[in-house]
């Protein structure tokens, strides 16, 4: 909402504030946030009124002109100008060298095609008077020369831009802001409400009718005959343009002006275009087509309110007038409309039909019901002054709740005066309280107990005692509220047993563990494009109905596409010749829905949010100060990260399973079948880790191998040690252990895992640890075979182990290896 300092000054005494900026600060601290304070003359400091003495062609250009321009004294200046709309003798706006125009352009002496230009002749666009303009601004002949343009055009106003909150509908007008200022400055409103004599005119030839029940409780019309449509007087144009409104003609401008003055949107019809001597508000018919002022036709859904005459719809009520009844240059008779419409319906209509008009903006926030009849009188008065004519009649219709002759009970809020201290935390004396309410034009009836406060009709936002508490607090000043620490009336929740706290803490622990494993945590959007999903053979069962673009259309089923994108981006960030060691992880939700997405009651939806944990590793495995002395990351690095992570989480029952034909396609699609494992938790799959499938890597044009993992965090979290549960001390063996190393030759397909498992199982209870410490393939062993070195550590609890026992168990283990794996002991 834009507010004019000058206009405001006509409505309320502003002598209590020194500068517009001070007023802006005051308003901001009362909750009317002022975003910008802009003197209209800003940027026009070095723009001077001038006259073109002679316009010549530029010697070196067909398009440009070379003008001699005088400011009334001194030698004429030579100015190069590209516009075509000026002639010798025209008065113009000259930006002198050194000017900094409102559009940011700095004017300097410059050579244009070999000729020095000593300034610039300005267009309205450059002066930011208009969004777009053709040619330069030509001033009236009567303009004096050599004067600042701002002075010559009367641009001595300051415009405030208010960022109003949705509850302060009353401040969508100068009168509303003036009331707020009066309350803030303890000054009186100067504004005089118009006398309502015009409402006593005989009934107009066009009747008004309410056919929408409570959705439109009042409707006033005034007929004016003999108007002359034409341009608005310059003061009106200037006022509207200063407030960012385009001037159209003296009637349309008047409706806009009065709306900005009083907050009531209104409409002027060409009375001759209204058929059936009737205007009414009624619900729209489904499929009904209404031609609108913007030249387009809107098809009604049926919930809207429309204005119609005896035959046709002539406007989308509260949003936009009709294109079939608008005022034109030929209009002689007017019929003015002022009405009240249900805010919710106007909002739905303006949203549905995508017409966020000034009128809809006000109606959907609610207008002052007592202002409707005042505003139409004011509008008629302005039109009579600017477009002539004679008011010939007045029609009206109002429900009982809006009938001014029936006194309806005022809104009353009951509140005990000591409530404010209890609620706000500091005492405001009763006298002070009363002053606050009086300054806001609230009625105050004091009693022995509760006070009865009746808010003024324009403050639709004041309904409960908490609303009054805000009025008190903001009038006294939020800065007067003291700081106290709230009282803890009970013990805090036991975090270690509260499931929300537990999960939060476990998430944080997991992230910290991965950071300790050397990975950087990252964040991706929860939605992505179908194209991106397809690249990975994925689909999504949860779609954004109204996406920003295709890029953000589907909720992610996996974190990996986002992580891989970021890995790809990072791969481009070489620092010198060194490739970057890429290591990222993300923890976040993935989204699925077993059926079309719907809400299931108030608290549930069909969308399942499953949290996952994604990892990507690529590039050099180690960063040395001197040289990259380790090779690129490999499976072992990835496995080490995941192993370390799961161990320190205390995840119980998590196992690895090499990929096979039985592995789910959802896993096999991601990774190289021979260089990956599936993670099993309990009975089900809990993710996988391995090398990104070479087919995908090729499609993505990856240069380096990318190692990836995705864990079902819900499953892993459920198996993890609760984050607050302490680990228990385990004693180490008191008696010395015995070690035996074995070199086995096995077929390639025999896994290290099996060798370890057999050793531990067969060697129970003495074989405590079995560890693979070398894996060799090559010239020393037969083709198709692998040599694997295993160390088994034996010990007995509470006693010394005998050499013979160890030998016996070792022999059993070797036998088992031979029997179950066909392993041979190597020399």
């Amino acid at each position: 909402m834009k507010i004019s300092w000058k206009w405001l000054g006509e409505m309320v005494d502003l002598s209590g504030v020194e500068t517009p900026q001070k007023l802006a600060d005051l308003l901001t601290h009362r909750g009317l946030e002022v975003e910008e304070v802009r003197p209209l003359a800003q940027g026009l400091e070095k723009v001077i009124t001038a006259q073109i003495v002679v316009r010549n062609k530029h010697p070196d250009s067909d398009r440009l002109s070379l003008c001699k321009v005088t400011i009334g004294k001194g030698d004429p200046l030579e100015i190069v100008c590209g516009a075509q709309n000026m002639k010798s003798g025209d008065k113009v706006a000259l930006a002198m060298v050194g000017a900094q125009l409102p559009n940011g352009m700095a004017i300097a002496q410059s050579k244009i095609r070999g000729v020095v230009s000593n300034g610039m002749l300005c267009s309205e666009e450059e002066l930011k008077f208009k969004e777009k303009s053709d040619g330069i601004l030509i001033l009236p002949e009567s303009t004096p020369l050599g004067r600042p343009l701002a002075e010559a055009l009367g641009l001595d106003d300051v415009i405030f831009t208010l960022k109003l909150t949705a509850n302060r509908a009353d401040c969508l007008s100068h009168l509303g802001v003036a009331r707020e200022v009066a309350a803030a400055l303890h000054s009186k409103l100067k504004y005089k409400m118009p006398e309502l004599k015009l409402l006593e005119l005989p009934a107009a030839p066009i009747a008004v009718k309410l056919e929408a029940g409570e959705s439109s409780p009042q409707f006033y019309g005034i007929a004016i005959d003999g108007v002359k449509i034409g341009p608005s007087p310059s003061w009106m144009v200037r006022r509207l343009e200063g407030l960012g409104q385009r001037s159209i003609n003296n009637v349309v401008d008047a409706t806009n002006l009065v709306m900005l003055e009083l907050g009531q949107p209104m409409h002027a019809y060409d009375a001759d275009k209204i058929e059936g001597k009737l205007l009414k508000v009624r619900p729209a018919q489904k499929g009904e087509k209404i031609p609108l002022l913007d030249g387009q036709t809107a098809e009604m859904q049926g919930f809207e309110l429309v204005i119609s005459d005896g035959k046709k719809g002539v406007g989308l009520a509260g949003v936009m007038g009709g294109g079939n009844s608008e005022v034109s240059d030929a209009t002689k008779k007017l019929f003015l409309e002022a009405a009240e419409f249900a805010p919710g319906l106007v909002r739905r209509a303006s949203t549905k039909h995508q017409r966020k008009t000034e009128a809809a903006h006000r109606f959907e926030r609610g207008v002052d019901p007592t202002m409707v009849r005042v505003a139409i009188v004011r509008l008629a008065q302005v039109i009579l002054k600017t477009a002539g004519g004679k008011a010939t009649g007045c029609s009206s219709a109002a429900l009982a709740s809006r009938d001014p002759s029936k006194k309806s009970a005022p809104r009353l809020i009951l509140v005990e005066p000591d409530y404010f201290a209890r609620f706000l935390g500091f005492t405001v004396p009763e006298k002070e309280l009363e002053k606050v309410f009086v300054s806001l034009e609230c009625g105050v009836q004091k009693g022995s107990g509760a006070w009865k406060i009746s808010p003024p009709p324009y403050r639709l936002d004041l309904n409960i005692k908490e609303d009054l508490a805000e009025e008190v607090a903001r009038t006294v000043g939020y800065d007067k509220i003291p700081s106290t620490i709230p009282v803890l009336t009970s013990a805090p929740t036991i975090g270690s047993s509260d499931p929300f706290r537990q999960r939060y803490d476990l998430n944080l622990k997991a992230k910290r563990l991965l950071a300790e494993e050397g990975l950087y945590e990252t964040v991706n959007y929860g939605f992505t494009s179908m194209a991106r999903l397809k690249e990975f053979g994925l689909s999504s069962s949860v779609k954004v109905v109204n996406p920003l673009s295709e890029e953000f259309e589907y909720m992610v089923p996996s974190l990996l596409p986002g992580l891989i994108s970021q890995a790809q981006e990072n791969a481009r960030h070489h620092f010198g010749s060194e490739p970057l060691s890429i290591r990222l992880f993300e923890m976040g939700p993935t989204f699925t829905s077993a059926q079309a997405v719907v809400a299931q009651g108030e608290m549930q939806t069909t969308v399942e949010e499953k949290w996952k944990l994604g990892l990507v590793l690529s590039g050099p495995g180690f960063k040395s100060a001197l040289k990259n002395d380790l090779k690129d990351v490999d499976f072992s690095d990835l496995r080490s990260v995941v192993d370390g992570f799961l161990t320190r989480l205390g995840a119980k029952g998590v196992r690895y399973m090499p990929l096979s034909d039985r592995t789910a396609e959802s896993v096999r699609g991601w990774v190289h079948p021979g260089k990956s494992v599936e993670i099993l938790a309990g009975q089900g799959s809990a993710g996988f880790l391995g090398l990104l499938h070479p087919a995908r890597a090729r499609a993505l044009k990856l240069r380096a191998p990318l190692w990836i993992a995705e864990l079902d965090w819900e499953a892993i979290a459920a198996l993890s040690r609760p984050p607050h549960e302490p680990t228990h001390f385990k004693p180490w063996p008191e008696f010395p252990p015995m070690e035996r190393d074995f070199a086995l030759v096995v077929k390639e397909e025999v896994t290290a895992d099996r060798i370890v498992q057999i050793a531990l199982k067969t060697g129970r209870p003495l074989a405590k640890v079995a560890r693979i410490f070398d894996v060799y393939k090559g010239s020393q062993v037969q083709q198709g075979m692998t040599s694997i070195a295993v160390r088994v550590i034996f010990y007995a609890e509470g006693r010394s182990l005998q050499e013979s026992e160890t030998e016996a168990v070792s022999a059993q283990i070797v036998q088992a290896w031979q029997k179950e794996l066909g392993a041979e002991l190597r020399g």
Binding site: G518, T522, V598, A599, M603
Partner: protein, 340 residues
């Protein structure tokens, strides 16, 4: 025999004093004091000496033995010192070569700032609660007093996933979950991601918030201010001030926007300040006293009051870490991530 002893003794003392290496010294010790050493040989011959002379010669021999041992030891200490200082002189590495750089990972600033806030406000009694991101329209809007067709919905352009299912536009959606799920007193923080149809240099369609909610008997607006004061001082430094300005959020009444004094220019704002751009204040959050409508929907009755606040994590993180561009938060650029 005595002259022989003297001759061995004198000679050996001289030799020991001029020995150049520990090996020479050892060779001398063996040659003189060893089992077959010259001094030992003399002592062995002591048996053939008369009983009267034996003690006398024995005493002289012992004397020399002790003298020689002392001299050898002294020279040994000297030589060892020389060897050590020689070793220290010759052994040298270039200690200006930096150490190997292990990989250290890090938490995203969104995580660490969220945790910092949870930690700080946890000290005055807040617990943690969370809710889903795909949320019912009811919990996101109606339950926080934003009915359908209410202009306040303009404040948050909403992504829909289906009929009455939205991507939550604020963590305030957790408020009603918490209130319906638990009895008061209620003191919770709700961190998490939220979505709005807004995408430009200063808005991302997804960002993070943390919501605070405190409901109990006799909670006052001054308690809200005190909580935020404490928060600001812990997060932005102990000189920080907070300023509340009246504002409007449908789920609170009264409502306020909160500014914190600029922690960079500290009370003497300069236009050149890159943090506050000269205003001296930084807008950080919205808050207010819980609207009674919410208690009604929660079935709480009229005997409670409460306060709520919500803030953008990215905003706080950008201020604290002086991050110039919001988009860095979601780009996964390791040059960025490795700084935290």
């Amino acid at each position: 025999m005595i002259p022989k002893l003297e001759s061995i003794g004198k000679e050996t003392l001289k030799e020991a004093g001029s020995a150049r290496t520990l090996e020479q010294l050892e060779e001398i010790r063996i040659r003189v004091l060893g089992k077959k050493g010259s001094l030992s040989e003399v002592l062995k011959a002591l048996g053939s000496v008369s009983a009267e002379e034996r003690p006398k010669i024995g005493a002289v021999a012992n004397q020399w033995k002790q003298q020689i041992e002392a001299a050898l030891q002294e020279r040994k200490t000297q030589l060892e010192g020389e060897v050590l200082s020689q070793q220290l002189k010759s052994e040298k590495i270039d200690t200006t070569v930096p150490g190997r750089v292990p990989h250290r990972g890090s938490l995203h600033p969104i995580t660490s700032v969220t945790q910092r806030i949870v930690e700080v406000l946890g000290r005055i009694g807040f617990d943690v609660m969370t809710g889903p991101i795909a949320e019912t329209e009811f919990l996101n809007f109606e339950a926080v007093n934003i009915p359908k067709d209410h202009p306040a919905r303009d404040m948050q352009d909403t992504f829909f996933l289906g009929p009455e299912v939205v991507l939550r536009t604020h963590t305030s959606s957790v408020q009603m979950r918490a209130m319906r799920g638990k009895k008061w007193p209620l003191r919770i923080l709700c961190p998490g991601s939220v979505y709005r149809c807004d995408y430009d240099a200063t808005h991302l369609p997804m960002f993070h918030q943390i919501e605070g909610l405190w409901v109990d008997k006799d909670v006052r607006m001054s308690d809200l201010k005190g909580t935020l004061d404490f928060f600001a001082k812990e997060i932005f430094g102990k000189e920080s001030q907070v300023r509340m300005r009246p504002s409007y959020f449908p789920f609170v009444e009264p409502g306020a926007e909160v500014d914190v004094s600029c922690f960079k220019c500290k009370g003497t704002p300069k236009d050149s300040c890159t943090v506050c751009r000269g205003s001296g204040w930084l807008e950080i959050l919205g808050c207010g006293m819980v609207h009674p409508k919410l208690f009604e929907l929660a079935g709480y009755g009229t005997d409670v009051t409460g306060f709520a606040f919500g803030m953008g994590i990215e905003r706080i993180a950008m201020l604290l870490h002086q991050i110039p561009d919001l988009r860095l938060m979601v780009q996964g650029d390791q040059r960025f991530l490795s700084q935290f």
